[in-house]
């Protein structure tokens, strides 16, 4: 089956969620990939949304982080304070699944401003739950479309820390979680290099060239010694994703937001 680069991105991200993992899900692309994982390879993945649902099993993608169906299909719904206090800070999250407006070579995330904080060129929505998810989840996955505007050499603002300045930054900061272990884009998969913790390309999606990846990255992106070719989406994965998107469009009268 033919497929789009966005479908490849979502499928590649979904494959990273092992069955049974407890996943704190951001809205938009992370939510789409996490639900695809639940509907395909990882039926027992536990999806936690910051509004309060634990073990949500929505039939359509939520438009907002607190859609009613998340509550109706959850194992339990707890207050938002409890989500952050007992479940995230308490050390019970295996994977924090985040989107971003901008990311740098160490997986640090900006969702606050482009330009100067006090005189911003673009005011972005802000932190939400991401800083503490990035700090406390045992691992973090980041999913976003790749472009030189989004993959920048230097962030204007670090909203949520990844590997900081690289090396043993996280350890020095006293962060409990291991930080980002993968950035999944529409072109490739990046993983942190041992030691430096700089993200390097470890898998290139079929049909994508190294030149495309270099052009869509604002820093001098490096490639691992052994770069894989990402396995194409299977028919099962594509049909599940397209069904999910069709059900979502029918339910909401629009595509789910990427905000």
């Amino acid at each position: 089956m033919s497929y789009s680069t966005n479908e490849m991105m979502t499928v590649a991200a979904a494959r990273r969620l092992r069955n049974g993992a407890v996943c704190f899900v951001g809205i938009g692309l992370p939510s789409k990939a996490a639900n695809l994982a639940r509907l395909t390879s990882s039926p027992d993945v536990v999806l936690i949304y910051e509004s309060g649902p634990i073990g949500a099993k929505p039939s359509v993608l939520p438009l907002s982080i607190g859609d009613g169906e998340l509550a109706e299909t959850a194992d339990t719904v707890v207050p938002t304070g409890e989500i952050f206090r007992y479940w995230l800070q308490g050390g019970r999250i295996d994977v924090g699944f985040l989107g971003a407006a901008q990311v740098d070579r160490f997986g640090n995330i900006n969702t606050t401003v482009v330009g100067d904080y006090n005189n911003p060129k673009v005011r972005l929505p802000g932190a939400g739950g991401a800083p503490e998810i990035a700090g406390s989840a045992k691992t973090v996955l980041i999913i976003l479309k790749q472009s030189a505007r989004a993959f920048v050499d230097k962030l204007d603002f670090i909203t949520s820390v990844g590997h900081g300045e690289g090396g043993d930054s996280r350890k020095r900061l006293g962060l409990p979680g291991a930080g980002p272990v993968g950035i999944i884009t529409d072109l490739c998969i990046m993983e942190p290099e041992a030691g430096s913790h700089e993200f390097v390309v470890t898998s290139i999606h079929p049909g994508v060239t190294r030149e495309q990846i270099v052009a869509a990255t604002g820093w001098a992106i490096r490639f691992a010694d052994d770069v894989a070719t990402t396995v194409e989406p299977s028919e099962v994965e594509l049909l599940a994703l397209r069904d999910l998107e069709a059900r979502t469009a029918a339910a909401h009268g629009q595509a789910p937001g990427e905000a």
Binding site: G66, V77, T80, G81, L173, P176
Partner: protein
């Protein structure tokens, strides 16, 4: 004991110019009607507190009610930007507005601390983030037992909290369910608390352990069916996703926004009149 009042009277009596005010509701049960009434009554210089400003604060900010915004995520969920919030921050329209920015975990903890009568909240947060550099109220504290350095943030203790809930009984006890967000904490953190409800019943029939706010912990209860629209009230109506989309072009420029506020909010006497006007406009568009 909470008084059962009209929303007009509750806002008139308990919301003052210059107050700090929290209108909470995490996607669910957002007290939209109360936000409208504050605009209608022309309240000024408010410090607005809310984790997710949403359309309700976009309206209050654009209408010139806000002096300061305390928040942790300011977008139109599933749609994009809050244009009035951005215009105030980026171009000081309709006037300059101070912002005090936190993360969700921080504000959620700050409400818990406020409800607990504590001056600050402690949490493991912000290491490696630039937010403490732009918000001097984010400080740190060293654990006296382990030596761990943790984030310390001031508790949120608003002059007034307003929330929306499904039911109240005739004494003013309130029952809410579904996604609860930080509403209970926000209600108990405030000096005064107004609750708008979908219906007032003889008996709440609340299950054991249900989220019930006792009447003696509240200030006023107002019957406002539909008062959370375009957000939703679980068991009553669904989220009006089309309104969230329709808001984007309305809020995108100052003229269309002001015309909308003048016609739909300042040009209506109360939420019932607003709903009727919105329904007739929607019929005319079909």
């Amino acid at each position: 004991m909470a008084e059962i009042l009209s929303l007009h009277d509750a806002v008139k009596q308990f919301v003052n110019d210059g107050d700090s005010i929290a209108l909470e509701g995490f996607t669910h049960l957002i007290p939209t009607a109360a936000g409208h009434e504050i605009i209608r009554q022309g309240k000024q210089d408010l410090t607005l507190v809310r984790m997710t400003p949403d359309l309700i604060y976009d309206q209050l900010i654009g209408a010139g009610c806000a002096r300061k915004l305390i928040f942790s995520w300011g977008g139109n969920p599933g749609v994009g930007s809050l244009h009035r919030l951005r215009d105030a921050v980026e171009k000081q329209w309709p006037h300059a507005m101070e912002i005090e920015e936190h993360s969700h975990a921080d504000l959620a903890n700050a409400y818990v601390a406020g409800a607990s009568g504590l001056p600050f909240a402690v949490l493991r947060a912000y290491a490696g983030s630039d937010l403490p550099k732009v918000n001097p109220l984010i400080k740190s504290v060293t654990c006296p037992f382990t030596g761990e350095v943790l984030a310390a943030v001031p508790s949120v203790r608003p002059d007034v909290t307003i929330i929306h809930a499904q039911k109240a009984d005739r004494k003013g006890n309130v029952l809410l369910w579904g996604i609860l967000g930080v509403q209970k904490e926000a209600a108990l953190a405030a000096k005064r608390c107004i609750v708008t409800v979908e219906e007032i019943v003889d008996d709440l029939n609340a299950p054991m352990n249900a989220c019930v706010l006792p009447t003696w912990a509240l200030t006023a209860v107002c019957l406002v069916p539909g008062g959370a629209h375009p957000s939703y009230a679980h068991g009553y109506y669904e989220r009006d996703n089309r309104f969230y989309q329709a808001w984007d072009p309305i809020a995108r420029n100052r003229e269309t926004f002001t015309a909308w506020i003048d016609e739909y909010i300042r040009g209506t006497t109360d939420f019932t009149a607003f709903k009727a006007k919105l329904a007739s406009a929607s019929e005319a568009a079909q």
